[in-house]
Symmetry: C3
Subunit: 415 residues, 3 copies
Amino acid sequence: METLIPLLQAKTTAQVITGNIDNLFIIFCTFLVFLMHLGFALLESGLTRSKNTTNVLYKNALVPSIALISFVLCGYGLMFPHFSEGSSGIFGFAGMGVPKGTVTDTTLDGWTYFLFQAMFAATGATIVSGAVAERIKLNAYIIFTTIFLMLFYPVIASWTWGGGWLSDLRFHDFAGSTVVHSVGGAAALAGVATLGTRLGKFNGKIILPLPGHNMTSATTGALLLWLGWIGFNGGSHLSMDSGTTDQIIVITLMAGAAGAIAAHFMIVLVSKKYDLSMLLNGILAGLVSVTAGADQVSLLESLIIGFVGGIIVVPSIYMFESLKLDDPVGALSVHLVCGFWGTLAVGIFGDLASINQFIIQLTGAMVCILTSFICSLLVFSLIKVTMGIRVTKEQELTGLDLTEHGMKAYTFVSK
Amino acid sequence: METLIPLLQAKTTAQVITGNIDNLFIIFCTFLVFLMHLGFALLESGLTRSKNTTNVLYKNALVPSIALISFVLCGYGLMFPHFSEGSSGIFGFAGMGVPKGTVTDTTLDGWTYFLFQAMFAATGATIVSGAVAERIKLNAYIIFTTIFLMLFYPVIASWTWGGGWLSDLRFHDFAGSTVVHSVGGAAALAGVATLGTRLGKFNGKIILPLPGHNMTSATTGALLLWLGWIGFNGGSHLSMDSGTTDQIIVITLMAGAAGAIAAHFMIVLVSKKYDLSMLLNGILAGLVSVTAGADQVSLLESLIIGFVGGIIVVPSIYMFESLKLDDPVGALSVHLVCGFWGTLAVGIFGDLASINQFIIQLTGAMVCILTSFICSLLVFSLIKVTMGIRVTKEQELTGLDLTEHGMKAYTFVSK
Amino acid sequence: METLIPLLQAKTTAQVITGNIDNLFIIFCTFLVFLMHLGFALLESGLTRSKNTTNVLYKNALVPSIALISFVLCGYGLMFPHFSEGSSGIFGFAGMGVPKGTVTDTTLDGWTYFLFQAMFAATGATIVSGAVAERIKLNAYIIFTTIFLMLFYPVIASWTWGGGWLSDLRFHDFAGSTVVHSVGGAAALAGVATLGTRLGKFNGKIILPLPGHNMTSATTGALLLWLGWIGFNGGSHLSMDSGTTDQIIVITLMAGAAGAIAAHFMIVLVSKKYDLSMLLNGILAGLVSVTAGADQVSLLESLIIGFVGGIIVVPSIYMFESLKLDDPVGALSVHLVCGFWGTLAVGIFGDLASINQFIIQLTGAMVCILTSFICSLLVFSLIKVTMGIRVTKEQELTGLDLTEHGMKAYTFVSK
C-alpha cells in the first residue's frame, strides 16, 4: 500500500505532463493558424490592385477580432453544444463562452481549444474576403462576416465536429476540406454571385486581366499559409503523438509540394509563361485537397491527392472566369473546388476508401456547401436590398482606399 | 527499499521532463518576442515616409544585437542581482553574463531565461525608435539605446521583477504594461521633447498629415506584434501549465480584439473614414492595456480593459499632436498611455482590485515612468549639447536614407 | 513483482513523453527552417532589381517542393543509408522514402526527422538561387536544383551526418557551416563562374552598383533568417534538453549579434555610410560562422567567432566583385567564406580545439567544398552546352519577369 500512493501520483503526474505537452502543441498550432490570417491578408492584397490595398488589409486585420468576439458570444457554444452544459454564449458558463476544465475526450484545456477553434473559424470568413474584394462595401462585409461567424459556420461545423448528424453518418473531414474551405468557398460564391463582376474585368466576351499589384506580398502570403497548415492539419489531431501527428504534418506539406509541381507543369502546358500566381494557387490547392484525409492517406496517396488538386485548380480558375464569376484571388477554385475534391478523396484513398464512404463524403460535402451557399446568398441579398452591398461606380474606379478609408496604401516619394 | 530507488528516479524524471516542457515553451515564446522586432520594424517603417525607410530598418535590425550584447555585458546582472552571486556582467559568473543552472523559483534554465529577458528588454528600446523616427541621428539613437539597455531598463525593471522595492510593495505588473511599455514610452517622450517636431508637420496651428508610405508593411507589423503577444504575455507565466498559461494567452489576444473593435467604432465617430493606422493602434492598445493584469482578470474584464484601451488611444494620438509632441507612429499613446491605463486596471479589475492596490499601481507606474523620463531626458539632452541629436534641415528634407545610408529603400524601375 | 509492472510501465510512459517533447521541439524547429525559405525569398528578391522579382519569388516558392519530392524519391535514402534497411527511395520501404519508427540513437520519429532534413536540404539549394539571380534560365535553375537535392547534397552530407567517412574521421560540423552553407556556396560559385556577370555590372575595371529594389523585403528576409536559426542550430541537437539545447540557441543568436556589431563598425570604417545590406550580411555571417561549433564553444567564443564572421564578410564581398564573380546578394561571402571560417573555428575554439582537429576541419571543409564545386560545375556546364543556361541579352535587359513569367511583380497605380 505504501508504494501504491506514489505510483498513483506518478500516474497523475504523467497525465498532467501529457496535458501540458498537448496544450503547448495546440498553442503552437493556434499561433500558426493565426499566422494564416497574415498570410491571407498578404495573398489577397498582393493579388488585387493597389488602389484597394488599404481596404483589403483593413478587412483582414479586423476578421480575427470579429471571430474571437463572435465565438465568445455564441459561436463556440453553438459549435460544441455538449460542452456548454445547457446554455451557450455570454450568459452561459462562467468566463463567458469559454468552458472551464478539460475538453471531453482530449487532454486539452477549454481555453486552448476555444482559441484554436476561433482561429479556425476566422479562416473560413477570410476565404470570403478575397473573392468579394475590390467592390464590396466595408460595412456589408463586416455584417456578413459577423453573421457567418456567429451562426452559419458554428452550426454547419457542429454537424461534423460538434457531435452532430454528419459525424453520426461517419462523414470524415479531418481538418476541414469541407467544413472550413468548401463552406467558406460556398459563402464566397454567394458573395461573388450577388456582387457581380468588377468594372473593367469583362468587355462583352473578352476577359481582361486586372493583375495584382504586388507579387512579393502574394508570395509571402502563400508561403505563410503553407507554414500555417502545419498547425491547421497537425493541430487537428488535437494532441502531440510521435508517429501520428508528425506523419499528418509530413503528409500535409507533401500534398502542397505535389500541388506546386502539378501547377508548374499545367502552367507550362497552358501558357508557356511561368505564372507565379498559378504556382501559389497550386500549393494552396494541394494543401486544401489533403485537409480532409491527412490522417487517413499514405504518403503516396497524399502526393496523388495534392497533384490532382494542383491540376484542377488551373482549369477551375478559367472556368469561373468564363462563367463571369469574378473572383480576384482564385478563392473559389482553391477552397470550394479543391475542398470538394479533397472531401471526395477520403472515399477513394486511404483506410476509409469504399463506395459507401464515397457516397457519405459526397452527401456531407454537398449538404454543407449548399447550406452555406443558400444561407450566405440570403444574407448577401438582404444586405443588397437594404443597405446596399456594392460601392458606387465612382468609388470603385477611384479605389476603395481613398473612398472608404481616406488614405492611400503606398506613398513612394521620388526623393 | 528496492522499489524506492526507481520511485525516486521516477520523480527526478518527472522534474526533468517538466523542465524540458517549460524551457521549450519559453524558447517558443522567445521566438515570438523576437518576431515582435520584425513587427516593430515593419510597423514603424510602414507608418513613416519612404525617404527614411532604410534608416528605420537599420535601427530596428541593430536593436536586438545591442540588446543581446548589452544584456550579457551588464544588463542581466543589474536586473537580477540575486542571480549573479556577488558580481554581474562580463567579469561575473562563468559564461559571461548568463548564469548557470536553473533560475530560482522556476524550472527554467539560465540560458532560456536570459534570452527571454534580453528580447523583452529590446522591445522597450524599440518603442523609442518609432517615436523619434525621421529626424534623429543614427549615432545618437544607438548611443541612447545602448545606455537604456545597459542601465535604465535593467535597473527600473529590477524594482518589479528582480526582487526590488516595488515587488516588496506588491506592485503588480505581470508582463510589463509599465515595466516595458510605459518605461519605453516615457523614454520615447523624452526623445520627442528633446528632438522637436518634424519639418512640415506643423504650420502654425495647422497640423499637417505626413502619411506613412506603406500600409502593407504597417499591417504586417501590427499582426506580427499581435502574434508576438502570445509569447510576451504567455511566456511571462514562465511555465506551461494547462488551464493557466492558455487562459493568459486567450485573455491577452481577446483584449487585442476588443481594442480593435473599439478603435473601429471610434474611427467611425471621429472621421467617417476607416483609418487603418487607427485600427492597428487599437489592436496594440488593447494588448498593451491587458499586459499588466493578464494573469489576474477574467475574460469579460479583459474585453473591458482592451476596449477602453482602444477607445483612449484615438484621442490620445490627437492630444499629443495638439501638444506638438510629434510621434510619427503613435508610440506614446499606445505604449505610454495604454501601459499606464493597463497598470491602473490591475487595481480596478480582477483578483487584486482594491483602493489600496490602485494606489500601489499608481505609485509604481508613476515612479517608473518618471525615472525613465528623467534619466532619458538627461541622456538625450547630453547627446544634444555634445554630438548633436538631430540631423540637419537639409538631411531631413532629403531623407535619412540618402544622407545617413547612401541608399534608397526602394527602386521600382518602370521596365 | 506486483509493483514491478507499473514501474516498467512508468518507465515506458516517460520514454513516450520524452519522445513527444523532442518531436514537438523538432516540428517547431522544422517550421523555423521552413520559415527561412520565406526569409531567403525576401532577402534575395529585395537585394535584386524589381524587373526580376517575380522570377526570384517563383524559384524560391518552388524550391521547398523540389526538396520535399526529391528527398522522398531518393535524397533521404542516400543521406542516411543505414536507415533504409537495404534500399532507398520510392521503391524502398513502406511509405516511400520515409522510414517507419524511431530514428536510431534519437527519440525522433522517422517522419519528423525526414521533414527536418528535407527542409535543411532545401536551404542548401536556396543559397545557389541568390548568387545566380537575374540571369539564369528558370528551367536551368530547376534542373540543377533537382540534381543537387537528389544527389549532390545527400551524398556529401552523408559523409558527415549519415555515418560516413568524415564522421569516422571525427570531422565536426554541428549544424552545417560546411555541410549546408559552404556546400551550397560552392555550388553557387560554380553557377556564378559558369554564368558570367550581369550586364551593366562591370564596365572595364569600373564596378557599377546594381542596387536591390526593396530594403523592406531584404530586412524582413534577414530577420526571418535570424529567427530561423533558432531551429536550424537548436534543432540540430535533435532533442529538447534544458541546459544544452537552450545554450546552443543563445550561443547561435549571440554570434549573429556579434556579426551585426562587427559589420556596423566595418561599414563606418569603409564607407562612412551605414550600408543596410552590409549590416544584414553581417548578421548572417555571424550566424553561419557559429553553425559548425554552436554545441562546442562558450558564449565569449561565440561572440569572437561571430564578430570575425561579420568582419570578413565585408572585404569578401569586395573581393568577389573585384574577381568579377558577380553575386547579387553576397551569398558567396556569407555562406561559402563564413561557412569555411566557422568550420575551421571548431579547431581553434571550444572543447575540440587542437592542431589535429584543425587539420581535420580543414580537410573536411576542403573536400566537401571541392566536391560540391566540381560536381556543380560539371552540371552547370552540361546545361550550358545543351539547353543553354543564360537568358538572352534582350531578356536580361527587359527583365526575367516579363520574358519568363509574362507578368510584372509590382503595379502601383497612381490613382
